[in-house]
Symmetry: D2
Subunit: 416 residues, 4 copies
């Protein structure tokens, strides 16, 4: 670790939370250089839906490398990119009757959100964007303005403008009525509010504390957006690509977003990729090259991402996700009951993103440390870091899942 | 191409400029699916300093994949990351007596600049940043505010604030005197200027038109920054990593920047990576996790990037770069003379970034198209796209270089 | 009128609403150059609490002029200013046990609000200010940002920043619960809200539509401000100085504001004057000369304003105000019942500011025009101008009041 | 003075500089309550061009009061306002062939500037405005953004946006070439500058240090504005109305501004009035009531202001102004030579605004105090307050002028 302490920036975080040097990884396991193996309930911040070093992807990537495929192409056309697009269209869009355009940009979620903001502002000619309390949308100046967390916001060093903050459904003052009130004020010429360019929302706020929005509320947000002439943007970066038990977290909710932001899991192997789905009538507002990014044509990400999509050709994986998610939720509920009685522990989640809100950041921090000591990687999120967030690979073997849940149980008890 | 036209966003750019589907690539060649081979004077926007699919990197990456190295780690410590850091320190920092800290972030140049801006504002408690005309620093809201190009700026849809614009050395009103005037106005309490947090500068403005700053001017910028309590930030994203004939473009200029932003070439294979070098006294202002990014721990980029660093263990490659750069400049000067007489063609550049300013964007566009038709990939940059920018891989074989220069010559003549 | 049409700016407004040339005025009457006399329910936008050309003030002003008193002094000390200050202290502050400092500035309400904003931001080191829907606080850039009316806001031509908008008590979503929700979100580090520098509120929104806040809600705003470290600022510009039946509109409500903004009526004769009352501990943050204004030392305004204060030495006038206010409200309620049945007319007000909300701006406009034709000056306010606002001089004779109310009754019937 | 110390805000300034209580005033004299008479070289910050309590104005005002003229009318038409407009048109506009519209607003210079900014942004659809170093344009948020003085700017507590700062002609880097450089950068699509809505300039910067612009430079500013589609706005607030020896300070310079901002002297007696002159084609962009202000219809100001205009019916006063101005300049030059040798004293000015730059704020402060002690009111301006600014009433008797200049001479010698 000395190398990191000596040469890496003080900003490093996870290497403090998990103070060891990892040497290899496989599915839901990371192994450090001393050979210690950890169950991984963190999955690279939700990126590794199909596990570390997924063997099908690995084979495809090696073959691609050996064949001198175009590894880096900006937005030139390549055979590999075409394969990815065709697979995405066939697997995801066509079955849903979606006709959205695929936009590639710098391969980070933040960049996807920045592009969505630009487009929404272009399409509407408006400036302000509605974001919700507890939302997390990225760390660059545009996306950071949407992000709720004060710690991140304070680092900007400049005012974060052009955002109107509404409470998320589950926050104080949140819900359908709050949307109706906002609508009424917006309709009043003396309300003092400007009509927004977009509403940007996560269906499940992952960093924000595993806050789960209901379908009716999301539909109300969409309807409000439509009625006031704003774009309805779903930030699907952390909970898309199967995490919640369906490919999109909003599948089956009667939603029809204008823009869907994808990143993290879409590149499959942890290989960077970001992609927005954009309704064609909005996409037509883009001029060629108006939002660029050097790494928007990643051959390895297209290869791995294409392979990842094969997991969604049928419902096998997603059925498992729902089952494992239920197992996780049950375990957490039991834990909340046995350990959290009188402490107000709460369990929230959908599919394989489940959170245990222990009500207090220092307790959560102790549990994370104790879990690590016992061989489990798990992270905290939410206000003050008080929610333990479980986002293991969707492909985690049952044994690893059980082991991880047991370690967590012990760590919680140990930390009380 | 139909797949792209049907499904990819209207924003796609290079697939219009180079309207074919590429299937493979090797060093300074890209080959399309019809088997047509192109000399590549574009190199993935300056990323592929060591060529497409560099065989040493390729071998290392395949070995890493086969060994289940940690492909995606955020900022956890990994053996692979440690290897990269150690190599960078040994090859780049130690020989220069530099003690800067390495900060990793979302793997785009834009993200590196956003992080530098946050830090400069934190360190100084100031808000405004000096950027120069014709600069290009990225497309997210913070870095876009620094970028000079109106086409990109207009897409923001919101005011781009907190930036003071000064003319670059080679722009109207630019030079040492302009810096002195700015200094004097800043010193005057009625000057109406706020003291800046940072000066962010490229030593060679690549996108801005291959505008080359002199060492004395850069030293004057640095001195001004020091004297007014601002950070001196070099955006080395496009011209670092050997492009100009030295590892850093500012080597040997008597400069000592506070922050150096690296991306593009640092990841070696086109694999995304961004990294800031930060003086320790500034780095100490970061709190853990204050600026994050999901893809800030890319195993493949560390492996390829480490391999790339081996090319800078001795002066062999850089000697070649200087020689080839001179060959490119000679060829362009000859071309400017024979074709550009009375047209005011200008040649500018350092090392293997060379520009031919043909004075007019539509002429440059015609040359790009004609070059493509004749088997050469070259791009345009500068105001209105009037500068042909030559940034081939540093490893381009002599024959390919000669062939590319000859194609360009023909294309220019054809386009007049 | 041709002179005005030919030479005065297109921006002129009231000369279109009341298309005649006025030649003289006295108490609650204006007389045009053709000798036509109008009952004045508008009173110079609420400035002329003690009537046009109040004879006591007039005598004092003429004496002052004849004695060569200092008419214009910036913030030099003058005997006249001292007389005003002493009178204000003795009549207003001492009886209430208030120890606030008197700050003079450019003689407009907008300037008073701008000064209050600067001070609140200085004292707290914060940037954002809470303003309420339907609020009106002025037309300069800082105060305009607080103002709710979209017509006025749109004229800014730049984003109006640094303001958080909450619904006024009587607006959709307004009330005590909305304050509690805002408080909760503010307390949550992921709420995405910055702590505010101030809450700026009118007790009765005059321009906003004669919206009357309750004492409990105002106390909740004050308590919230205190608890979150913000200043509690009452904009008393239109409804202070006796308008509501007490000197301050907030008298007797258990409120203890940090800053009170006064203008309009404080200068007495329509002579410009603005003044903030500031708690000494906040006032101590001002540096000498930090917010200036050329016309902040108006001798005539001090003389007339001092004379105006004599009306508040006892309760005679205010008792009358309450009685006349009740008469106005009764008349409006009767009118609302007879004319507004099934039309949802609403009557709102306190003391001698009373509004008849006819639900529709074009109807209100017709009533204003018809009233003018019949010899009554009355204005419209509120969203879309749908509220007839009655703000006659507090000194209006009973006959004039009765006549005005009767004209209004007829005008409403005529306009239906 | 105790009343002021006890009850008036800490922000008070001039009552500290001139620590006495004034009781009366006449032409160029102020007399304190102890009967001490002071020569006034300050004239209410340049407001009282025609002296304190000008007898012709006083008579007119008393007559107006006695006749119950409409003292306060917002923008209703009144006979008094018509008289003022007709007089202004006949005396000022017609002889110059000007056809500008007269816009009235809140009666402060700051308000006039705010209105000009709104209009320029409306007309052009642009956001940024060019202001010059050392400019002073007011204290409300919009005008303050134009003002150069850091002390005033810092009090805003929020970023001052939407302004581009260029050096004034006489500042470091200022002059015709700087305008040409700015023009070139603006014309370059990668210059990073947005086209401005307006250029706002003073012909003589009064608060900024009595900096005098040349006619050629002002014409270059105007030409630049025209060429880039921006409005050319002259802020004539402090040096208009005869101060420089012509009615407008820009008379005879070949200038044809789009907007002229007037305040201070236009109201004559120190009675507040502000007025913009606006070219009709721009004025047509205003909607009725888009920028309002309660005190925009001041009967007393119209009466006094009309009387003031009679002084400009012939050249008698202005001839005197030029002569007295020359006398002032001579005296200052002599003083600079005798006292300022080797100290770099500088004399600057036009007509009856003359400045003695003593190079150092604390010296200037001492001179101001010493002058006061000896019976002269004079103020300091410029960066750090290092310039003694002489702006006596244009009607100052020769004896008073001579006495004041002699006191100043003694005070300077005493203070060295």
């Amino acid at each position: 670790m000395e190398v990191f302490e000596k040469w890496e920036s003080e900003i490093r975080g996870y290497s403090r939370t998990y103070p060891t040097v990892f040497a290899s990884a496989s599915n839901a396991r990371q192994v450090d250089e001393h050979g210690r193996s950890y169950v991984d309930f963190f999955a690279g911040a939700g990126v590794l839906n199909l596990g570390h070093n997924n063997p099908r992807m690995k084979r495809a990537m090696i073959a691609f490398l050996e064949a001198d495929g175009v590894a880096h192409s900006l937005d030139m056309a390549t055979t590999t990119k075409r394969d990815f697009i065709e697979k995405f269209v066939a697997t995801v869009l066509v079955p849903r009757g979606m006709t959205m355009k695929l936009q590639f940009m710098g391969p980070t979620g933040s960049n996807a959100v920045e592009a969505a903001l630009k487009l929404a502002r272009k399409v509407t000619g408006r400036r302000e964007v509605v974001a919700f309390s507890h939302g997390f949308h990225g760390m660059t100046l545009g996306s950071l303005a949407l992000t709720g967390n004060e710690f991140f916001r304070a680092a900007a060093g400049v005012p974060l403008e052009n955002v109107v903050r509404l409470p998320f459904e589950t926050a104080p003052g949140g819900g359908i009525q709050a949307l109706a009130d906002y609508r009424a004020l917006l309709a009043d010429v003396s309300g003092g509010l400007a009509p927004p360019a977009a509403f940007v929302v996560e269906t499940v706020q992952a960093e924000g504390g595993v806050n789960v929005a209901s379908a009716p509320w999301l539909r109300a947000v969409q309807e409000l957006a439509r009625d006031v002439g704003a774009l309805f943007v779903i930030d699907e970066i952390q909970v898309g690509c199967g995490r919640t038990g369906s490919y999109f977290s909003f599948d089956g909710m009667g939603l029809d977003p204008d823009v869907v932001c994808l990143a993290k899991g879409i590149g499959g192997y942890g290989t960077p990729l970001a992609m927005n789905l954009v309704r064609p009538e909005h996409d037509a507002h883009w001029l060629p090259g108006e939002h660029t990014g050097t790494f928007r044509g990643q051959g390895l990400s297209f290869v791995a991402g294409r392979e990842a999509l094969t997991y969604f050709e049928d419902d096998v994986l997603l059925t498992e996700v729902r089952a494992k998610g239920e197992r996780m939720a049950s375990a957490l509920r039991a834990l909340a009951q046995e350990a959290g009685e009188d402490r107000g522990f709460a369990v929230r989640g959908r599919g394989m993103i489940q959170g245990l809100d222990v009500g207090d950041g220092s307790l959560a921090k102790a549990v994370v440390a104790e879990s690590f000591a016992r061989g489990l990687l798990v992270g905290a999120c939410g206000s003050g870091g008080r929610v333990l967030k479980l986002i293991p690979p969707l492909t985690i073997p049952d044994d690893d899942l059980a082991e991880g849940l047991e370690i967590l149980r012990e760590a919680v008890h140990e930390s009380l």
